[in-house]
């Protein structure tokens, strides 16, 4: 089976001219051989990524690649300061950081990505802090993006500058249900229902709502560097094997073109720079070259009339520094890889075909950190994950049940860094077994196989995931 796949992929790579893409230089053998091996053979370890950090502390997601040049260090630190800095209401003496809002969710980028880690869903009755609620109405924009609510926009902002009415408050109502595994073990699953209050502009009625926690922000530069041609090859391979997943193709205002979406829960952003600018506007109300309008709808008159902090509010230099910072946040090294339980868990990970989507290796251009591959445990494609996770929202090609394969690298430190164990886009899973049991759709067979495993194997799989 592996041989057949590899042969098919080689043909595919040759067919699309991948061998000449992105200036790749093979470490050994022919280029196509090496890349094909990387794409289909998880044992390939020809030139692994340099510069990862051997840090298992709560700073593990906050380190630059150890290979970061000294000359780039100032830019990295500057980007970090912009990422962590609270923006202020304009006008302000601090003209470099004024322009918060008029509507906003928090004060700083860092607010939703504390220690660059995963945000957390609040418990019942608590306010959102590191989570937002995405809003959409049926239909799509001309460019394919989601269609925002006519007044509230594409996310509900719980805060606003003085003189502007905040849009409302959200809390989560958790619904519990129980799943029984084949060996009789019962696991409780929970699903959030957003509950809105103090809505400033009337009920949301039939608006589709999708609570989403702040995602991790390390390793993004590496995902950005995976050659598009390699991803397209993977997509074709998936199509030839029964259509498991596809690449989201999105409008990228940075380049003005359609590009492969790599970031966000539905792969709706093509670049770190674009995603940074989009979050600046959506979460903080900070305008940029790419999003020059304030986050107010025409009906929000006091919002429209509020003072801004410049035009745009974040300079190109600040925005690029943030993107540079995010692109250069290193991925922590794996731990405990020799432990028998972890080794066994890795076997199970492959046996359950988890790695068909959480792909163990993706190729890199040869001039990027001297690696010929990375191990992100994602294919950057969106997959149908079933009705259980559906949120009703369509973003470009990704429909209500489609979610991008979450990169699993660094996953094992998430609970330490975020101070709580939560997974999936809305933090509903309180453990890795819960997260696996929420998999449906294309992942249903893997999920069912997991539910049939003996307890020791389930624990081994968890141990493997914690080693990432």
């Amino acid at each position: 089976m592996k041989l057949r796949s590899r042969t098919a992929l080689r043909s595919c790579l040759v067919a699309i001219g991948f061998a000449s893409a992105a200036g790749l230089v093979p470490a050994a053998g022919t280029q196509a051989d090496t890349l094909a091996d990387i794409l289909v053979n998880p044992e390939v370890d020809a030139r692994p990524l340099q510069g990862t950090v051997a840090d298992a502390t709560r700073d593990a997601y906050s380190q630059p690649f150890s290979t970061l040049r000294a000359s780039d260090r100032d830019t990295f630190i500057h980007g970090r300061s912009v990422f962590q800095r609270a923006w202020v209401v304009a006008p302000s003496l601090d003209t470099n950081f004024d322009g918060l809002g008029p509507l906003h969710s928090r004060l700083a980028c860092h607010s939703c990505h504390q220690r660059n880690g995963r945000g957390l869903a609040p418990e019942q009755g608590q306010r959102l802090q590191t989570m937002l609620v995405r809003l959409a109405v049926p239909g799509q924009k001309e460019n394919g993006d989601l269609l925002p609510h006519s007044i509230y926009g594409d996310q509900l902002n719980e805060d606003a500058v003085p003189g502007v009415r905040a849009e409302g408050r959200v809390s989560l109502l958790w619904h519990e249900s129980t799943v029984t595994l084949e060996d009789g073990k019962e696991i409780s699953l929970r699903r959030p229902e957003p509950v809105f209050s103090r809505l400033a502009h009337g009920d949301l009625n039939d608006t589709m709502t999708s609570p989403r926690v702040g995602p991790v922000v390390y390793g993004l530069g590496l995902l950005e560097q995976v050659p598009a041609s390699a991803l397209e090859a993977l997509e074709q391979q998936a199509a030839s094997e029964g259509g498991r997943g596809f690449l989201n193709r999105v409008h990228d205002p940075v380049t003005g073109t359609t590009a492969i979406g790599r970031f966000n829960y539905k792969a709706s952003a093509a670049s770190v720079l674009f995603q940074s600018a989009k979050a600046m506007q959506g979460d903080l109300g900070i305008t940029s070259r790419y999003f020059p309008q304030q986050n107010c709808s025409p009906q929000q008159a006091n919002c429209q009339q509020a003072t801004n902090g410049g035009d745009p509010e974040i300079t190109d230099e600040q925005l690029h520094a943030v993107a540079f910072y995010l692109e250069n946040l290193a991925v922590p090294q794996r731990r405990d890889t020799d432990q028998p339980q972890v080794v066994r868990g890795e076997e199970i990970f492959r046996n359950l075909a988890c790695n068909s989507c959480h792909r163990e290796q993706l190729p890199m251009p040869s001039d990027y950190l001297h690696a010929n591959h990375i191990s992100p445990y994602t294919d950057l494609m969106v997959h149908d994950m079933g009705e259980g996770l559906a949120d009703g929202i369509t973003e470009f090609k990704a429909g209500p049940q489609h979610w991008r394969t979450t990169p699993l690298w660094g996953l094992g430190l998430s609970a330490l860094i975020s101070e709580s164990e939560q997974y999936l886009h809305d933090g509903r899973a309180r453990s890795l077994p819960e997260a696996i049991l929420w998999h449906g759709g294309e992942a249903q067979s893997s999920r069912d196989s997991y539910a049939a495993l003996p307890a020791a194997d389930r624990e081994a799989l968890t141990a493997f995931l914690h080693s990432l």
Partner: protein
Amino acid sequence: MPGIVRSMEQADRSRTRCPLITDPWVARREQDRERQGCRDRAPMDGFTACPAPFWQPKDLATEWLTRVLDRSTRPMTLTILGLLLSSGAFAQDDSVVVMTSYPDNVIARFEAAFEEKHPEIDMQVLWRSSGDAMAWLAQPGHAPVDVYWTPSPRRFEQLKESGELRQLSDSQRALPDHIGATVISDPDGYFVASETAGYGFAVNRAGLTEAGIPVPADWSDLGQAEYAGTVGIPVPSAVGYAPVLVDIVIQAYGWERGWQVWSEIAGNAQLIRRGATLVSDEVVSARTTVGLSIDFFVASAIANGADIDFVYPLHGGMNPAHVAILEEGVNPGAANAFVDFVLSVEGQTLLGHPDIRKLPVRPDVYANLAADYHNPFAAAEQGAYDYDHALGQPRLPLLTALFEQMLVTEHESHVRLWQAVHAAERSGADMSAARELLGTPLISEQEAMLNTVQAPFRQGADEMGNGGSANPAAIAYQNDWHAQILDRHARVEPLVKDWLP
């Protein structure tokens, strides 16, 4: 219709597109206007918006009242409203506006815990750096602030002097008002300490061991020749917490010797111009072996796994943060609830979180914290905190400027000359003349204590931050000091010429 503030603003705009702004906004906003242009908010008209006041009345009665007062009575508006509001006529107490300069990791934890304890109160955060906070409060028609909560003692003194603070209740004033010789709360009860932070050394112990250098116990140790090239100093004009560092050493050793110590340390040091966590970053990465720092950045890094240490020197010093209730606030009940929470066992315990690591001002809370958590009350009993914070506060801007001219502007030359002094002394030469030239303070202590000398620098700092020098008198002083330094270096040069690197 947002109410009177919009009405007043529209009246202004009917007269001019860019209404004048009251000090101290003018300089910065004019820079903004040059950069951006200025316009009404109407889209696509080719300008950016002029500053607008923000306050939106909270109920119809207030809105009616504000509408009937035209702009000719504007100066009276806040006064009248203040009287009415202080009477409780419009207090709603379903929200509290807290102005602060704390980072989000502090704010978020207090916000979550406070709202969990008081679900009936919506905590609204107005983030301002300390100078910017004063500008906000000085702006006519600004949105009222209920609570000011920030680590910037001088601002609280200013607000008290200008009558903008309410006296706190007896229960809110019940915690200790001093630690050692450092008075941390206002004796008259207009503001109280909400936490404090100590100063000392972030130390890469492995780096020191490798270099065969002992862990420093006090500031003067860092001026010894063996520490050459190992010390990192945050530049006081660029790093918010650093001016107090200058004063701690000067109070500890006296004016003359204190500047000598600084000269020696700076001769061994590299300068770190950014704040935030950079000093600890430098020490973690071993680019600097000993970094002078405020404790919580380093303690947080340590608590989160960084392999460094923090040493509290024999001559310690601290910088308290405060909380106060503003007279102009419209939610006095909610404001009191917030202050009570900040000072409560629950609120003070939050300070021990690994991402915060501030020093609580409730002595009883330390029993709940890690055994190695620095307890300044216990340390003070051993004489560690003889630092007089109140003495230092008015002169910090002056000290910052003196430090800048004496040790920063010609730092490269300063280091080079000190390297030569150390080399000369290793060969047995007498370098006392060079030491005196490099370490003698630029002005006498008597002169430094004169209000006429301190005031121009305070004014500059109010307008421009630590590094402010817009005042003509301050600029003249600094030009003179810089000339003195150039002259001194030129005079040291021949004394050490045989040992220059």
